[in-house]
Amino acid sequence: MELLERYLQAVRKYLPMRRQDDIVAELRANMESQIEDRESELGRALTQGELDDFLRKMGHPMMVASRYQPQQYLIGPTIFPMYFYVLRLAMLWAFIICMIVAAVVTPLTQPGGQAVIDALFRTPGVLVQVAAWITLVFAAFDFARTRYPQACPEIPGITQNWNPSSLPPLEKAEHSGKPRSLTQTVIEIVMGVLFLGWLLLIPHHPFLLMGPGAAYLQAGPFLLAPVWWTFYWLLIAVNIMQISWKCIELARGTWERPSRLLQMISKAVGLIPIIFLLTMQDHQYVLLKNPLADQMRYGQTLHQVNEGLHFAFIVVCAIVVVQLAFDIGKWILEDYRGRIAKA
């Protein structure tokens, strides 16, 4: 019977502290009765092999003990849907923030490509930490809720008293909805061409962009840095590409359902001019016409203007990246749902 004692000792280790003696005593009584019954059937004592089989059939000590635990799960079915929703949302935002930090903030604050690679490699660690913290908080909440139901607040939205009229309105099925009309496509092309024309006129007629500010710029001590020319031509190229793409759609007769992939590429390409400005060293977007003469007087203002512009570009870039990431996520989700529906 030494083996039985060893088995019970192993079970005891996994039992709740307060009930160990009681549970082990009951288990022993039941198991000994069972062994006695079997021995009286056979007319002899059980062999070592038969006892092995009996204990194996009882199950692993950890599994046997786990069934005596009041709670056999980390997060129960009542709050699991909310936990999973929060987890997915937090993971998505953590991923987006990591990407912005790696692709936008890091290149601006630290020199060299290695810093960007390091920032990218930190992403999995951050995601694991976010998931661990959320799991820990929900597990603690479920633990408290199970043991002290009176003291815990009801979870809004999943209690019996939820209000159906508080459900969100129907979402528009963007892609499966009304197709883009020919008129809309033509108007988009015409507006694109007009915008391109306006852009091309700006170098000769700066007031089209700056209004009265153009005269001030001409008379004042400041001038735009040559980097704006590169930015300008990149902007022109992106616009030409977008107009061409719409013309190709029109020519091919595919304007009703434009390709999502091309839409994403178009948005991503739109980021190129702004990223180009962000990668400018020393953030010299505006210069002094006569640096030697005006440095003392306008140096501080010039610095503030350049830093202000740089910050504005970071904000714009971050917004566009978040928007793009959101669109890509939405596209992947819709594609996934479409595949499921077809299956």
Partner: protein, 117 residues
């Protein structure tokens, strides 16, 4: 185990879980200790693992559906369980529910069988 087998096994366990509780409560109208209860259930065609039955008894006692006491029998201390007054009420309600489900499922099967023939 194939995916179909796995699905079947999960559904079977789900179906059995409630039925076992009902059978244990019904059987404990008479006093039993763990092992004899298991034997009696097995003799009536309901096999149940020790590792399922013994914790189930504890849980039902925590829910105040059973009462228990330690007593010596055959020179060995054993914990004997029986249905509590609260357990009797719950058992009666559960049996009503069981009979309703049983009747409904039988009717559905009869009618769908008749329609398919």
């Amino acid at each position: 185990m194939t995916a179909a087998e796995n699905t079947f096994e999960n559904l079977r366990l789900e179906l059995r879980r409630g039925c076992l509780t009902l059978a244990v409560l019904a059987q404990l109208k008479e006093e039993h200790y763990g092992y004899t209860l298991r034997k009696d259930l097995a003799e009536r065609g309901l096999e149940i693992d020790e590792s399922t039955l013994y914790p189930l008894l504890r849980r039902l006692e925590t829910q105040r559906l059973l009462v228990s006491e330690w007593r010596e029998q055959d020179k060995r201390n054993k914990r004997f369980y029986r249905l509590s007054p609260e357990g009797e009420q719950i058992l009666a309600r559960l049996l009503d529910e069981w009979n309703t489900i049983n009747t409904s499922v039988s009717r559905i099967l009869r009618e769908t069988d008749a329609e398919t023939k």
